[in-house]
Amino acid sequence: MPIHDLGYRGWRGRISGAVSRTLAITETGCRLALKSRWARRTMLFAWMPLLVWGVALFASENLLQESRQTSLMDLADRDPEELLRHAMAQRQIAEEMKEELGFFPEIDVLADALTSDNPDESRRVVWRWLLMTYFRYPQAVAMVFLLGFVAPGLIARDIRSRAFYLYFCRPIGRLEYVLGKLAVPTVFLMFISTVPALVLYVAGLFLSPDLSVLPITWGLPLRVIAASVVLVLPTASLALALSSLTQESRFASFGWFGVWMLGYGAYWAVNLARAISLAMEQGRRGDPGDFLTAEMMRTWSPLSLYAALGDVQSWVFGFLKFNDVWPSVLMLSLLTAGSLVVLWRRIGRNMQS
């Protein structure tokens, strides 16, 4: 026995409330998730696209500023015929953008805005478009991989190692447990989406030639937060529900990636079939994509989590109307609610086992 052995000593101290217990669950969950090398790598890579989007924002700001100054000088110096030719050339550029970059969402809105006579409107649309595509492409893909590495083990591991006793023999209820666990993917998703998007916004402000951009874009941080909520709620709920269904985290991983791949595959298969059918009806040949409009494709967005999230984020950034995306909103809401019900019931069952 060591000479400094003090035996047992009682403890009387301040006991904090339910919030700190929930935070303890989140903190431990994050710490364990960060032990995954792949999760750390994904987080690092998820920040890389920020450079590309930052450069794009900087370039667009400077081009728009230059174009505005040129236009103001032109108005004074050039004759009306030359101005008309200039306007027609701009229209031509817009049409070519729509033609060549048609696979980007809402490119038509961007093209029209770039050639608009209202420079403030152009800037507003460019900023919104860049942030929307930032959420829709690199961050959505990074999110799928990051949650695939982080979330499957969050509850499956607790089931396998019977860690439920560790939680529920203490003054902790199902709600604190679910919230604490949900906060783990939320923290990771915010780190790769909300935080870099806000950094991009602030960097954009500093990189702009003047601060006149601030009153034009002040609402964007709110849209970023709303887009983050749209991204986090259904994905985190689904990932945790899958994790709660098994004690083998790899099965939850398969389920997670399967949902994304099968949904996206089904979405494209249906759209391809539609395009082929339209081509046959019209008796024309060509790329199937030529027969489909964005509206037609949106009809099947609820089949794919990826497409549905993209549509709703386009709505959040003001490119689509609610009427265009309500099926996707409904699907994501039902998915979130269903996932939370599954999660709630599975945890209840494990508490009593």
């Binding site: 060591p2 052995d5 003090l6 035996g7 047992y8 000593r9 009682g10 403890w11 009387r12 101290g13 301040r14 006991i15 904090s16 409330g17 700190s20 217990r21 303890a24 669950i25 903190e27 431990t28 364990l32 032990k35 591991r157 607790d158 396998r160 190692s161 019977r162 860690a163 439920f164 006793y165 560790l166 939680y167 529920f168 023999c169 203490r170 003054p171 902790i172 209820g173 508490m351 009593q352």
Partner: protein, 310 residues
């Protein structure tokens, strides 16, 4: 004095299976042993006390708090060591105990200090810094015990806490339990299959079978001598002595080769036993009043064969 745990008519059904059937039980302060064969309802009873399982019928209080309505307040006063392994893979021993402290509402920094203090008490040395997956069963038991104790609960509920411990560790563990109960006023509910553990540390014994309480009594009561019988221990075989007694109208039992249980209503029979030893040439080592062994009491309570021998 108000009992720590007071249950009245507690019933729990899982589908058509009755896990608990109208359990009436009062458990006071001190160390209480909870005994019963597998499937007796011990674990269900413990989970009911912790508020992890909802009762089908009945009512109860723990620390005067209503069961089913004040479960969190009840759990705040209890430290629970489950029978099964329960840990979070990837954490070290000290991290598990610290995490348990923070789950109980202790500040993280204070939780770490307290975790080290409790691990010192539990005899966990440098291994506390290793990942828990690599621990032996005994080390995991220590971690579970430390996690249960870290928030200084008033009541410890231990489910098979000594399983997997080597004899030395088991003795140390029981000594810690005794110390917690006698010197620090902790109450303990010890669910175990190891009867000597109960005999060694408990003040009170509860025996369950088929979802019912079959016996709830203090160990001192149970250890009282059985009226009218004496135990005679001899050197070598007690057969000749039993034969002599039988020929003289005294029917003895021989639970072990060297031991006899003899009905001895009065001093005359005792004198006859000494004489029998002398006549049969058997050396009597001891002659003492018979007491019921815990094993016998247990078997009798659950409905099995019962004998009165030590």
């Amino acid at each position: 004095m108000e009992p720590l745990i007071a249950l009245q008519g507690i019933t729990k059904k899982f589908g058509s299976h009755h896990a608990l059937r109208g359990v009436d039980l009062d458990i006071g302060r001190g160390i209480t042993g909870l005994l019963g064969p597998n499937g007796a309802g011990k674990s269900t009873l413990i989970k009911m006390v912790l508020g992890l399982v909802r009762k089908t019928a009945g009512s109860g209080t723990v620390f005067g708090l209503q069961l089913g309505q004040q479960n969190r307040a009840i759990r705040a006063k209890i430290g629970y060591v489950p029978e099964d392994d329960c840990y979070i893979p990837g954490l070290t021993g000290v991290e598990v105990v610290r995490f348990s402290a923070t789950l109980s509402g202790i500040d993280p920094v204070e939780g770490l200090r307290r975790a080290h203090e409790i691990l010192d008490f539990c005899g966990m040395k440098e291994d506390r810094y290793r990942a828990i997956e690599g621990y032996s069963t005994g080390m995991r038991q220590k971690i579970k015990f430390a996690a249960a104790l870290v928030h200084d609960p008033e009541l410890l509920i231990l489910d098979e806490p000594t399983s997997g411990l080597d004899p030395e560790e088991r003795e140390l563990f029981l000594a810690r339990l005794r110390m917690l109960a006698r010197q620090h006023g902790k109450s303990v509910l010890l669910s175990t299959h190891i009867l000597p553990d109960v005999q060694g540390v408990c003040d009170h014994v509860v025996i369950m079978a088929q979802g019912q309480i079959r016996l709830s009594q203090s160990l001192a009561e149970l250890n009282r001598p059985v009226d009218g019988r004496v135990m005679v221990e001899v050197e070598g075989d007690a057969g000749p002595l039993m034969g002599w007694l039988g020929r003289n109208g005294i029917a003895a039992d021989q639970p072990r080769p060297e031991l006899l249980s003899v009905p001895a209503a009065d001093e005359a029979v005792i004198a006859q036993i000494w004489k029998a030893g002398s006549d049969a040439g058997v050396t009597i080592h001891s002659l003492r009043p018979a007491t019921n062994s815990l094993e016998a009491i247990f078997l009798e309570a659950i409905g099995g064969p019962a004998h009165a021998y030590p």
